[in-house]
Symmetry: C2
């Protein structure tokens, strides 16, 4: 593009932006929230329990105390989600983030399988594949850990870097992973990456992979990828204690009233159950029962249910991708992910992320803060923005993406033309 062309584009973009501003928009794409229409898919769960429906299969009264690690039938029902046996699962309350916080905090106070409590070290460190999930990094930072960035590649974290770092430093105690449709890149870890994680030999014997499989059944295609199961692979090489795996129904049923779960080796589960016995008397079994009734106790029903989510959100992903292609495709200023599942699109435009977020905000479109996907909120190249297309309506999203694309062009042109 010639300079004059650029100047003309700048002028027209400015005019377009001013027009957007005049619309007094109020659009929120800041978090990966399901839309009200998605939540409506689950409304029958509100009423699916009847007044006399509170007994588990074994006769246990779900209204009362007890059953620390989840209803037996809930374990059976949810085990396929993480690809484990029911014995390897604990079915929890409404928040998998809470289980991750609890598990990491527990390592700080009590160590892992009898190791020295992480909190007794001057400093312990955690590996953070970037771009990644801000709340993961925030948990570790809050607990006093040092965050170390590891680059993400197209098939997962850069395992050369991971293996090298954990081999030499026994104060590196953990890594955060979202192995399927990673947040925000939508990356699905390749078989090679999963196998290398399974075989990881960290200097720290109490190292743990925090494997947040938040989007394991959240497909946008009919032929989803079939990633390897970390725990299964780890067992094959006698390394099964290395991981904690997490999932929830937050983006399957209700984000505020779903069911979370964690899975691990028999040894880890025994230790975690013991710790859990000090932390609570038990989770909400009535809500576990509600989930069982809603899905008729059949995991295939849950998979079918996810197809109805797909019908609602796949068009939204298409709006984002199509708009980016149409508006920015020929300019060579930016790149973005085209995920086949999950909740996010990752957008990169070097040196422009903060400015784009600011421009969007000033035109009434709230995005996740620039830098959020990096440790300490610092994106070294100021390039990454996480786009969360699920919550707005299609009309709102279309408008928001036009504002976004216009802001992206403005930011690039400001950078070049000053």
């Amino acid at each position: 593009m010639q300079l004059e062309e650029k100047k003309a584009l700048f002028t027209s973009c400015k005019a377009q932006y001013a027009a957007f501003q005049a619309e007094n928009l109020k659009l929120d794409m800041s978090r990966g929230k399901p839309s009200p229409k998605q939540l409506d898919l689950t409304n029958e769960m509100i009423t699916c329990l009847k007044e006399d429906d509170y007994l588990a299969q074994n006769g246990l009264d779900c209204r009362n105390y007890g059953c620390l690690d989840g209803l037996p039938e809930a374990k059976t029902f949810f085990a396929p989600m993480l690809g484990v046996s029911p014995d390897e699962l604990i079915v929890c309350g409404n928040s998998s983030l809470n289980m991750m916080f609890w598990t990491m905090s527990l390592a700080m106070t009590n160590g892992v399988l009898g190791s020295k409590p992480w909190g007794k070290y001057d400093k312990v460190k955690v590996l953070c594949p970037v771009p990644g999930y801000d709340r993961h990094f925030a948990v570790s930072e809050y607990l006093g850990m040092e965050l170390i960035s590891v680059p993400m590649k197209e098939d997962g974290p850069d395992m050369d870097v991971v293996e090298k770092l954990v081999a030499k430093d026994d104060t590196i105690k953990a890594i955060w992973c979202v192995p399927v449709y990673s947040n925000p890149g939508g990356v699905v870890y390749s078989d090679d990456v999963v196998k290398r994680f399974a075989a990881l030999k960290p200097a720290a014997k109490d190292f743990r992979i925090f494997w947040d499989n938040a989007y394991c059944v959240h497909h946008l295609t009919d032929n989803p990828p079939k990633p390897l199961n970390l725990l299964e692979e780890a067992k094959k090489v006698g390394n099964e204690d290395i991981c904690y795996m997490f999932a929830s129904t937050s983006k399957i049923t209700f984000p505020g009233a779903g069911v979370a779960m964690m899975a691990a080796s028999a040894t880890n589960i025994a230790s975690l159950k013991n710790a859990l016995s000090f932390s609570t008397i038990g989770y909400d079994k009535m809500n576990q029962l509600r989930h069982l009734r809603f899905f008729g106790g059949k995991f295939e029903s849950l998979i079918e249910h996810m197809k109805r989510h797909k019908e609602l959100i796949a068009p939204k992903f298409a709006i984002v991708i199509d708009t980016l292609k149409r508006e920015l495709g020929d300019l060579g200023i930016a790149s973005w992910s085209e995920p086949v599942g999950g909740y996010f699109i990752s957008f990169d435009q070097k040196g422009c992320a903060k400015r784009i977020v600011q421009l969007c905000k000033e035109a009434g479109v709230v995005l996740t803060g620039a830098g959020a996907s990096f440790p300490y909120g610092i994106d070294p190249d100021d390039q990454n923005i996480r786009i969360s297309p699920t919550f707005p309506t299609e009309e709102e999203l279309q408008k928001a993406m036009e504002v976004f694309a216009c802001s992206a062009k403005l930011a690039a042109l400001e950078q070049e033309l000053g």
Copy 2:
């Protein structure tokens, strides 16, 4: 009683005990669990939400993420339970024990209002009024704290001892309290005790009173005691940051699916909310809504509801007390509490607790383990047994108490006659 009389009693008790054993009883008085009939009082809560009933008063969608510290109307509704303003309350998930664990664990990892993390000390200590609640002590022990017993008096912990200990040792960081109908003694802290707690000046600036008001509305009389409010008293003397207060509806609605809450000073609440933002995205707001609908949003309805609990459990307390009086009243071997609320009766018989629990067990009556009410499970006088009368039916309880009284007599006579 003459020796011959004693021998005759021993013989008849042995015969009675053998008869009990022949009945193959299977009765459980081990934990403070509400009975199924009590849970039935709340069954309408299972169905009280309709399919389109998921919006909070401010329009917030309770199905979705958000609202970290509880629905505004849930805060308003539950604030009177702990006698605080809605701003001083966080409405949580189904477990107040979990909030206590979380809060104490947080002090270990992050300190309190910016203090040095407790976990960074070689050893920190917690005061445990005895007899007390085994799960409280277990939380601290699990987190690596040293447990220090403080004797309970008739109106609360011995404050002379508490004040002296906390004044001289800045590694004493906390005390566990059940201020109303204490577990297991049923003690209601006197105004003087509450005021002395409110004015406590520990050497440790990050000392916290863990004030578990689990039984605050669990009365067995129509004219319940009106204890002072700790936070209110602490404010009067400018010491309001000294306490965390907890309660739940576990013994009001459903133990497994109730709503927990915590209260504290504005400064503490701000700090706890910040910590909470790393621990979860939010608690189950649908269940908070269910509670609001069930009680019609009126706290007086909750108080009325507790009267229906009382109708079911007061006769059970009477069975325990009447049986103990009838069977042991004249023997001078034991003493017991006669609480006007709560869930427990505390029974003392010097040197006999373990033996009584064992005898009961061998006759099919399971009690809370002897020593459970003491740090490390060690009752120095082997005298205290916690009786939990709520779960069995009246018929079962009557039988169980006869077994208990017989076992108490046997234990005393064994001790004396060998």
